[in-house]
Subunit: 302 residues, 2 copies
């Protein structure tokens, strides 16, 4: 089933205790698309500048990722420079250059309006709303957000919350948005404002899903080989939405496995700098990692 | 199979956002014993003062807890006063009165030397070593510790590490003891120093077990009704060790379920002030909670 992501495509410079990378292909839509493409073809909506390297376009084009919605406009591509230290729980941003990101309204190409599964990556609520307005009859829309919009664009963000089928955010953001003291209460708070589902990402500690059937929790994949956490959250969303779109199903059991495939996708994303850990995977790699995850987190293996 | 705990019995005064309790029965050996007693009879080794309330003795005596090792000596009972704020992730200690705790060597009563499963609750390594020295041929000894001994009695603590079958500690302590940047590496570091198993407690995020078969991780029980986190870690150890002693088995599958029963025990402990949440449980309550835990954290329920 059609799966669309609207988000950022950029060039990342990242330092971690394990090394560094410069002007690497990055951005929320990139990590999402590389993860989701293992489960379903992806339509990518984003904007880059004239300086966007042809090699990066080729990397995206090698996957089942439709680039009709990737507009290249006058100006420079979005750039982010961050550093992870110590336990790498959080990035410290050294520099952000928005450049063309945010200067262009997120216009969907003709033919994308019929997209059925849609991920609104973290970004200004107004832009997320613009994408929503161009969709005809989506089956399942999930939106991400971050502390900046929770603090500075709360009303517009709550309008998004009221319009989508699922919100996804990290633990600190869920507590901040809801003002609740624990994650289950925060997820319930979010669901009361509209979405049937709320997904809370807990980094190395896994993720929590709240839906009509109650709460479901998975631990993170036990991983010693974390090289670069950049994009883990978007890869998680990509695995999750990719599985839903691939199955075209929202049954409780499908949602649970979607959470597991998100976990698996994130576990690959963090093994290498940039999205490389996601690019060369086979379906067999994904299934083997899922089996490994189940073996190390489940009391029985079916 | 015989299960012994050597630890503290005291009187706790605790404040949380949900209320408070004064001079409530507490201490590591109490929470451990109340949890473990649902799986196996428990031998409790600890010391209290002349002021220890008879009502507390009666509460312990109502369970299959052998109190021959609970010595009552001249002086006052150990007291702790702590407060949990906000998300209740950590207690702030307002007052500690050691009193008789630590003044008496942990002597095992005649007949306890044959104990097969043994929990050395958090305490001075010298005291833990004294208990170890009195054991004839234990099958499985697990020791807990804390930041104070990691900082101030590192050598003595590492001797304990080298003598037991399992270490258990919380995440911050594991990182501190090992100097490693992540929990899997920390657990591996601990196991290299002797114990076949290392258990790392992650509070609301669950627990990690490392053993000869590799790593196994369970999330915490998804719980909105946390009233008082006091004793959760000792209740966890009690459920874990109780299951092992009850089964008298260390097979990988038994270890995994032990981690799950520890999680279940902790989930009951935090629902009420003091150990009350553990006292009135039936075996049916425990199994129902385990089924609920599996249902909300496993992709399939067997």
């Amino acid at each position: 089933m059609t799966l669309l992501v609207a988000g950022s495509v950029g060039l990342d410079t990242v330092e971690t205790p394990h090394g560094s990378t410069e002007e690497e292909l990055g951005g929320s839509a990139v990590y999402f698309a590389f993860a989701a493409a293992h489960f379903s073809p992806v339509r990518l909506v984003a904007v880059v500048g004239r300086d966007f390297p042809p090699g990066c376009l080729e990397r995206l084009g090698r996957q089942p990722i439709d680039l009709a919605g990737l507009r290249q406009v006058e100006g420079a591509t979005f750039r982010w420079h961050g550093v992870y230290e110590g336990r790498m729980a959080q990035a410290r941003t050294l520099d952000v250059q928005m450049n063309v990101l945010g200067t262009c309204p997120p216009d969907l190409p003709a033919g994308y309006a019929d997209s059925r599964y849609v991920f609104l990556a973290n970004g200004p609520p107004a832009g997320q709303m613009q994408v929503l307005a161009q969709l005809e009859e989506p089956t399942f829309v999930m939106a991400d957000t971050m502390n900046y919009y929770i603090e500075n664009e709360r009303d517009a963000l709550l309008e998004i919350v009221g319009r989508v089928d699922a919100m996804i955010m990290n633990d600190a953001e869920a507590l901040q948005l809801s003002g609740r003291p624990n994650l289950l209460a925060a997820a319930r708070w979010v669901c009361r404002r509209g979405p049937a589902y709320c997904v809370i990402k807990k980094g190395e500690h896994g993720a929590l899903l709240r839906g009509p059937e109650g709460a479901f929790v998975l631990p993170g994949f036990p991983h010693e080989g974390v090289v670069d956490p950049t994009g883990a959250g978007d890869a998680f969303a990509g695995g999750l939405m990719g599985h839903l779109a691939g199955r075209d199903d929202l049954a409780p059991q499908t949602m649970k496995f979607a959470l597991a495939y998100g976990t698996v996708a994130a576990s690959f994303a963090i093994e290498q700098f940039g999205p490389k850990g996601l690019e060369d995977l086979t379906a067999r790699d994904v299934e083997a990692r899922l089996a490994e995850f189940i073996g190390s987190t489940h009391l029985f293996t079916q």
